[in-house]
Symmetry: C2
Subunit: 321 residues, 2 copies
């Protein structure tokens, strides 16, 4: 049995890596994709997703979701990180395909109803669409098997502010709702995603691939590496979204992921957008806090980069449900 | 030349340890002590301080400071941590000495004026008195050599909430002012203080001392160890205030203490009382952020416990300026 998956993304360079990884993962079937504001505007995120899918030979329905966070308007994305087009200026062949008519939130609600207790949600952008889906169907948490979220920071620094990570910071009000809803959540914070990187050797391997989609993603990494050179001091990049994808797929395993209380700061103070992860109980060697429904991934095994590289360069084609 | 020191404290069991350590440190001369609300009410903190000083054979002026935080009232201390009297129910011989007439803030302002450019401030309680001193003398930061503050949490969990430490949490408004003022600050957060502990062997050594003050502090540790057993899973205690004292004295050295932006969350959101320490630049191997006036201590050398134990049991008596 393969896992039915709904992906929510703001494609995005690392979103592109994650999408390509998912397409090369026979453990899952990708039933639908929602686009959301974040790294780039929602329409462009959908366009990038559709064109990359076509280049990879995959046909997955893409729905456009929220154009703006729940409070305030779209802030203009992150051109310094992902480029002005979200994919590092790499011109993908226009697919000619269009987004479906339903919204991303409607798609998620429908897929959950069609696959009750089985659907898994992978959210690698701001959580606006997931919050909208909770508005549409308050019983959604009982129908979804689990929600894997790339977002937040527990013990490590943020990447937008001292304490806040971009996906959460881009819509703290939505994140607060999603994290509080009673579904099993696997939160994949910067603590792990900043520790797993692609290097220039990984990029060179993608560039030498026979697969045009892998080559395109490899080309996108130029922009991403340039940004991360300012962060790490060397060319390379963090593997945020692919790490969350690999955890959902099971290609890697969370070796330390306690279930603990998590609250999102949606004030307008200096902590806005922070995920407050309560790890106080860890000091005594305890792991899970009774009743907590959010697992926070603090360590994984095996290392992500070799696994990711191997999958992206695998000869078998995309697996689509 | 010995260092002239003003101590601000909410005595408190680890405050008592720190005070005894300071009295056994010939590198400094303790010119005055201000008491503040926090672990216990300000009057009791002053009383505990006066009685412990007398038991140690030391005569240092003690001033009563703020009874309440800048916003709201005294919240009742931490009897589960320090006991209902602040010192674990250990009856110190009444000294018969009284606090001086000036307030703690007035004492600090006076001492800074008398020792311009030389006075060092050690604050191991809520920062209400320091904020009040800034109100009295806005030029105070130009007169004080440095301020060593036990407080906050950078990469580790808080001890009052998921993210906030007690001294900062007990008066975030004061802490925000003190941290923003342009004096050199050494912030000693839970990241280091939770990692350095006293064990039952250390307590036994104090209990066997010929010095009645050392024996009294050893007796206080019963209460403190009971609380920390719930935190660590074993009897023992964190060495919060002594660690800050030892850094000021120079008995230990900060081996990793980058100068970085620090902001205190004084909202009423979930992050209230957090010290937001911006360590993002550390990812590239950089250390100091230009213009930052707060050094955040993340590692020390040598380990504190043996140094502290040796000093507390030293045969030479208190050194008072």
């Amino acid at each position: 049995m393969t896992i039915p998956v709904y992906l929510d993304c703001d494609t995005g360079i690392d979103d592109s890596l994650a999408l390509l990884y998912l397409l090369h993962s026979p453990e899952i079937r990708l039933l639908g994709i929602g686009a959301v504001h974040g790294n780039i505007d929602a329409e462009t995120a959908a366009r990038n997703t559709l064109d990359l899918l076509a280049l990879a030979g995959a046909d997955v329905p893409v729905a456009i979701g929220a154009r703006d966070p729940r409070a305030g308007g779209y802030a203009g994305g992150a051109p310094h990180v992902h480029g002005v087009d979200g994919i590092g200026g790499v011109a993908l062949p226009p697919s000619g395909r269009a987004a479906v008519a339903e919204s991303a939130a409607e798609m998620l609600v429908r897929l959950a109803a069609e696959h009750p207790g089985e659907l898994e949600v992978l959210a690698v952008g701001p959580l606006t669409n997931l919050a909208a889906a909770l508005d549409l169907d308050p019983d959604l948490p009982t129908k979804v098997r689990r929600v894997v979220v790339m977002g937040g920071a527990a013990r490590t620094s943020g990447n937008v502010s001292a304490v806040s990570e971009a996906n959460i910071h881009n819509d703290p009000e939505a994140a607060a709702l999603v994290v509080a809803a009673p579904w099993p959540i696997v939160l994949v914070p910067l603590d792990v995603t900043m520790a797993h990187r692609f290097t220039e050797a990984d990029q060179a391997a993608l560039a030498a691939s026979a697969d045009p989609a892998a080559r395109a993603v490899g080309a996108m990494l130029d922009q991403y590496f340039t940004f991360y050179q300012g962060v790490y001091g060397v060319r390379g990049c963090a593997l945020h979204d692919p790490l969350a994808a690999a955890l959902l797929v099971g290609g890697i395993t969370a070796t330390h992921a306690p279930a603990v209380p998590v609250v999102v700061d949606d004030t307008h103070g200096p902590g806005r957008g922070q995920t407050l992860v309560d790890l106080r109980h860890q000091r005594s060697g305890e792991t899970d806090v009774p009743g907590a429904h959010v697992r926070v991934v603090l360590d994984i095994d095996p290392p992500l980069a070799p696994h990711l590289r191997e999958r992206l360069l695998a000869r078998y084609g995309p697996s689509v449900g």
